[in-house]
């Protein structure tokens, strides 16, 4: 029998950005919150020896231990799904702060087009433009409605930036100014301006200057040390839940954060959540934590896994397209990129910051006419300077040997003579792309793993080719002597790192028939259960997702508070 603890107002599962924001907002309002996190404690002091590429970037020090839990993957329904036994395509954050510890800090708003993607696509191009099995749908919230929450997240995190000339309307400017510009960034800016595009500095969660946020939290400025993605920031300059929202929650005295606590089930009775069942990983003890409200704030896959293993909501059926839990899994199309080789230049490529770079949105969303292309949406094109670390960055021309004398020669020569233009391609959902429970493989507790069924489609291949061509054009304008651009996207491959921008599975919308949660992230089928995170994205845009995750978390927090007072399904 599980040990039963006294009831709390709210229990949250997973303490990263979503959980941290919910905890800080709710405890500020006087609610008692228990936070359950399966990983360990983390603090800035842990990162004294953080500039260690092998330990953090190659051996995944901050990531979840796959021996305990992973997912299974297949490219289509005819294949047998097999476990992702080692990391590759994406990474699972772990511990307090979650993925908010190891991110780069690139903090973009989605476009107004994103939130009404189906309506606006039909309006401009007609219904025939949308492929029959592409399941894009409106989000049940508009850009104008989500805007105040973006603003709130950006002020909490101290985002450094300048206005996107092609973005949605802002109610206020970024709280801190843009990051410094390196010569590489200036080259990109000049070239894209010549091409009549609209460059701007990447909005950055690596602070450009010291900043005190509305919660009274002060943080230091970024030192451009070049260890961001996959690393923790020893300066606290990179916005991370551990140095922003979690201390705010803790200071209220109402936040009970329990690490090493692995939640296995959401408990429920008569259509209402009653709490969660978890295991204390340090003792093996099973514990029941009763609560008036439950908020799932773990990563995409785990949110969906908990719902399915707890038998909550209607599981998605790809044959009929009915059901919602697991529906609209989407990703990010980033391979449509190009690298330029500059024989007579030498750049300080070793220096940088996770969110240092320039970007254009001229080919993102519906900012350009899609009448003559065979895909929808698009992506941003950017030049980032995140710091080229030596184990993982060895740029060589495509016709070069990959080992031996020639490889050594070329990799040494080109490391500081190459620049890359990347693309953040949107990923649109298909009827056949979904998450469900694997019939064979289990986690450390014997619970079924999440099974992902996902592959690249013509939409993705066309989009990637398009962004690769644009990337090449920009590098030409920048004066590259030789350019290697992606030719063909190829099949989705889970072994090579692409992006930890996994989305969907418990999507939001205005209609309970086609979505799992409303625009407060409240479950249609269980009103005292909120499911927060990128799991609620009906598709993934041509941007990094964290700003939108943060904005939706602030809105969800408002919803939980409302629900705690009035109850019932919330309406906007």
């Amino acid at each position: 029998m599980a040990k039963k603890l006294p009831k709390t107002d709210v229990v949250i599962v997973g303490v990263g950005w979503g959980g941290g924001i919910i905890a800080s907002e709710l405890t500020k309002q006087g609610l008692k919150v228990v936070g359950l996190e399966k990983g360990q404690e983390r603090e800035t002091e842990d990162y004294y020896m953080a500039h260690d590429e092998l330990r953090y970037a190659v051996r995944y020090e901050l990531m979840q231990d796959l021996s305990k839990e992973t997912i299974t993957f297949r490219g289509n329904e005819k294949m047998r799904a097999l476990p992702m036994r080692q990391y590759g395509s994406f990474l699972f954050g772990d511990g307090v702060g979650g993925a908010g510890v190891h991110w780069n800090g690139q903090t973009f708003r989605f476009l107004p087009y994103d939130f009404e993607i189906r309506s606006k696509t039909i309006e401009r191009y007609g219904k025939g433009k949308i492929p029959a099995d592409m399941t894009i749908q409106d989000w049940g919230i508009t850009y104008d409605e989500i805007e105040p929450y973006y603003d709130k997240f950006e002020k909490m995190a101290g985002i450094s930036g300048e206005e996107n000339p092609l973005g949605g309307k802002r109610s206020d400017k970024y709280p801190t100014g843009p990051m410094l510009h390196s010569p590489q960034m200036k080259m990109f800016k000049e070239a894209t301006e010549k091409l009549k595009y609209h460059p701007y500095t990447i909005p950055s969660a690596n602070l450009s200057e010291p900043y005190k946020n509305p919660d009274g939290i002060s943080r230091a400025a970024c030192q451009y040390c070049a260890f961001c993605e996959r690393f923790g920031c020893e300066y606290g300059a990179k916005a991370d839940p551990v140095v922003t929202v979690i201390p705010v929650a803790k200071n209220t005295g109402k936040f009970d954060l329990r690490t090493h606590s692995w939640v296995r089930r959401v408990l429920h009775k008569d259509g209402k959540a009653t709490g969660v069942l978890y295991t204390d990983l340090t003792t093996g003890e099973e514990i029941e934590q009763p609560a008036d409200m439950v908020v799932l704030t773990s990563y995409v896959f785990n949110n969906v896994k908990l719902l399915l293993n707890s038998k909550i909501g209607r599981p998605y059926d790809p044959a009929s397209g009915k059901g919602v839990i697991g529906k609209n899994y989407a990703y990010q199309i980033i391979k449509g990129a190009a690298t330029g080789f500059f024989e007579n230049k030498k750049f300080n490529n070793f220096a940088g910051a996770g969110a240092l770079g320039m970007v254009i949105d001229d080919f993102n969303g519906d900012n350009f006419d899609h009448s003559n292309v065979n895909f929808l949406h698009g992506g941003y094109l950017s030049l980032t300077q995140t710091g080229k670390r030596p184990i993982q960055t060895n740029p060589i021309p495509s016709d070069s040997a990959t080992w031996g004398k020639e490889f050594k020669q070329n990799s040494l020569k080109y490391i500081n003579r190459t620049l890359s233009i990347g693309a953040m391609g949107a990923s649109l959902p298909y009827k056949q792309h979904y998450l469900d429970l694997d019939p064979m493989y289990k986690d450390a507790f014997g619970d079924p793993l999440i099974r992902m069924t996902y592959g690249f489609r013509d939409q993705d291949k066309e989009l990637a080719k398009f962004t690769a061509t644009k990337a090449k054009e920009i590098l030409q304008e920048m004066g590259a002597d030789k350019i290697d651009a992606m030719d063909e996207l190829g099949p989705y491959d889970i072994t090579t790192y692409q992006s930890t921008h996994n989305t969907g599975g418990a999507i939001m919308g205005a209609d309970p028939e086609t979505s799992a949660v409303n625009n407060y992230s409240q479950m249609w089928d269980m009103e005292n259960l909120f499911v927060v995170g990128a799991s609620s994205f009906p598709h993934n845009s041509g941007y990094n997702p964290t700003d939108t995750v943060g904005a939706l978390a602030y809105r969800a927090a408002e919803g939980v508070v409302k629900y705690s007072k009035d109850g019932g399904l919330l309406t906007s």
Partner: protein
């Protein structure tokens, strides 16, 4: 039933593995002179030894946790071909890469401690990633033996006795899956060897490779610096003396 078919496949695999172990025992027998004596007699470095001892403090880290002597020498020779000494500077051998690999395989990475290693094991598509039951340290042990066997069958000599060009041919045949073996994937082993070579060249010297940060110096990489605020806007390339994690102690 699909599951049953698969079980058969697995049984076949373990059969061929047993067969391999038998065969390779025989093949390694052909190596006996190089192998056994090699573990007692230092290979090829006799002349350098006294000089080194006089000039340098003894590096107590340079001993073996995982490989035997023959395995170590094979890995040292192979990694030197992957990242050879040239006019730019030292190669894998001088940078201590084989010691790095030995030490890594003796720890959690060699035991795949943080990988999902639960059965059942099925053959998958390439896009699904590694699906074998062998751990990295086992892949290395078998891969090295297969490289020796292949060297013997092709050149009648062990890998370390081959010319550099012959060694390159053996490695290229592994890289391109031209070697007909059933125990491990030839290219899979090569890719692991290649990626661990780069790790040994470029990881912090704390791990046993990248001797005296010479790997970093090859590419003007400053290692572990706390701050590049003054560098970011510079139009000129900045030559910065590297620092390692040791400087933080």
């Amino acid at each position: 039933m699909a599951e049953d078919n698969n079980k058969e496949k697995i049984d076949q695999e373990s059969l061929s593995r047993r067969k391999f172990l038998r065969n390779s025992g025989f093949a390694v027998g052909g190596l006996a002179v190089g192998g056994v004596l090699g573990s007692v007699i230092p290979w090829g470095t006799d002349e350098k030894e006294p000089q080194q001892a006089a000039n340098e403090t003894k590096n107590y880290n340079h001993a073996l946790m995982n490989f035997n002597q023959v395995e170590f020498q094979t890995v040292e020779a192979a990694t030197e071909r992957i990242f050879p000494e040239d006019e730019n500077g030292p190669g894998a051998q001088a940078l201590g890469v084989a010691f790095y690999i030995d030490h890594q395989l003796a720890g959690s990475y060699g035991f795949n401690a943080r990988d999902y290693m639960n059965p059942p094991f099925f053959h998958g598509e390439k896009t699904q990633g590694y699906q074998g039951r062998l751990k990295r340290r086992e892949i290395f042990k078998i891969g090295i033996r297969e490289m020796q066997n292949y060297s013997h069958s092709k050149y009648k000599k062990g890998f370390t006795d081959l010319t550099a060009d012959e060694q390159d041919t053996v490695l290229a045949d592994f890289a391109d899956d031209k070697v007909n073996i059933t125990t491990v994937s030839a290219s899979g082993f090569f890719n692991l060897l290649r990626s661990m070579t780069l790790e040994g060249v470029y990881s912090d010297p704390l791990y046993g490779g990248n001797k005296d940060m010479q790997g970093w110096k090859l590419r003007d990489y400053p290692g572990d610096q706390m701050n590049y605020t003054q560098v970011i806007e510079s139009e000129e390339f900045q030559q910065i003396e590297p620092r390692s994690l040791r400087d933080h102690m």
